[in-house]
């Protein structure tokens, strides 16, 4: 699908662009902190056990 530049009626304002960049940086930071805190291992630990709640018996 080719992007048609002429159709970009609502050009995002600079403010929205800044918000997007700030959010992106914030979430990358959160993700990084989470990884450094060892949260990936916790997710692995939880996700490799059968979740009885998900199944509906616990």
């Amino acid at each position: 699908m080719k992007m048609k530049r002429s159709l970009l009626y609502h050009k995002p304002k600079a403010k929205i662009r800044q918000v997007t960049i700030l959010l992106l940086l914030l979430f990358v930071a959160l993700l990084t902190i989470g990884v450094l805190l060892g949260e990936v291992e916790i997710v692995i630990q939880k996700a490799t056990m059968i979740c009885l709640s998900c199944i509906g018996i616990g």
């Binding site: 662009r17 949260e39 996700a47 199944i55 509906g56």
Partner: protein, 280 residues
């Protein structure tokens, strides 16, 4: 057609673990540490990735106990992952990658009388997110400070369909433990499946907490829809093809838009297109 193919490929990529059908055990590898931005239960025998909503609830449910011992593992990894995806593509993963979204679209193809969901019902998903994913797991705790995963436990029809029914079928030990909760969740699943035949993506629009999280970012994400109001003749071609029953001329980047892009092809006036915030 291209989107349908991508939806099917995504469903297969997230659920390729066939050995579980013989071992009756779920996948135990390191890939389970990666949260995919779709509702795909990690207790599904075929799943190889983690469900972000399940993972998030586990972090929230153990938050008070974790803080009590001076640890700060509060789910920042999951929040960050979902945030990065949201900031880049908004709800696009719902429209292109979610297996449960694919199921809803397929069921809606079954010939039947169709109806529309009252628009204000789309706010309910924020209640499900706030109450069952965040508040109850944090606030209702046992003597040791641990809460429960309320959304998974009492609502999630994806979990019942992808994990509950297969695991009960495959595993005799689990089969012996089913009771009221399993019956309740299975009944809820049946209701949802019936609803999916009658309405367009009812679960995504009214219940899904993951869609609710993504929807906050539709207006500020890098990938967005562009709309030319001078070209639009309000013929409702976009509304007729939209999986979430939206009219692009009312709000091109509605929180309910799953960025399937069907409206771009449907619009004969070329009034709809996509754009990238960073490039403008």
């Amino acid at each position: 057609m291209r989107r349908r193919l991508i939806q099917i490929i995504s469903a297969v990529v997230a659920n390729p673990y066939l050995p579980s059908l013989f071992t009756k055990e779920i996948y135990q590898g390191k890939l389970k540490g990666f949260c995919v931005p779709v509702l795909n239960c990690y207790s599904c025998p075929l799943a190889i990735f983690a469900c972000p909503i399940g993972a998030l609830q586990h972090f929230f449910a153990s938050a008070r106990a974790t803080l009590a011992v001076g640890s700060y593992q509060l789910g920042l990894y999951v929040i960050g992952t979902l945030g990065v995806v949201s900031a880049v593509i908004g709800r696009m993963a719902c429209g292109w990658a979610c297996p449960f979204g694919l199921l809803q679209e397929l069921l809606y193809k079954i010939p039947s009388p169709k109806s529309e969901i009252p628009r204000f019902w789309s706010h309910f998903k924020y209640l499900f997110l706030a109450i069952t994913v965040v508040l109850l797991p944090i606030l209702v705790v046992d003597d040791f400070g641990y809460g429960q995963t309320w959304f998974c436990k009492w609502i999630c029809p994806a979990g019942t369909l992808e994990a509950g029914i297969p695991m009960v079928t495959l595993n005799e030990n689990i089969r012996g433990q089913i009771g009221f909760q399993f019956g309740f969740k299975t009944s809820l699943l049946v209701l949802f499946l019936g609803w999916m035949v009658l309405n367009r993506r009812p679960f995504c629009r009214t219940v899904c907490p993951l869609g609710a999280i993504f929807s906050f970012f539709n207006k500020v994400s890098i990938f967005k829809l562009g709309f030319d109001k001078d070209k639009c003749i309000r013929c409702n071609a976009c509304y007729r093809v939209c999986p979430t029953a939206l009219k692009v001329y009312e709000n091109a980047n509605s929180p309910d838009c799953i960025r399937c892009l069907k409206c771009i092809n449907a619009c004969k006036q070329n009034a709809v297109d996509y754009n990238l915030t960073m490039l403008n």
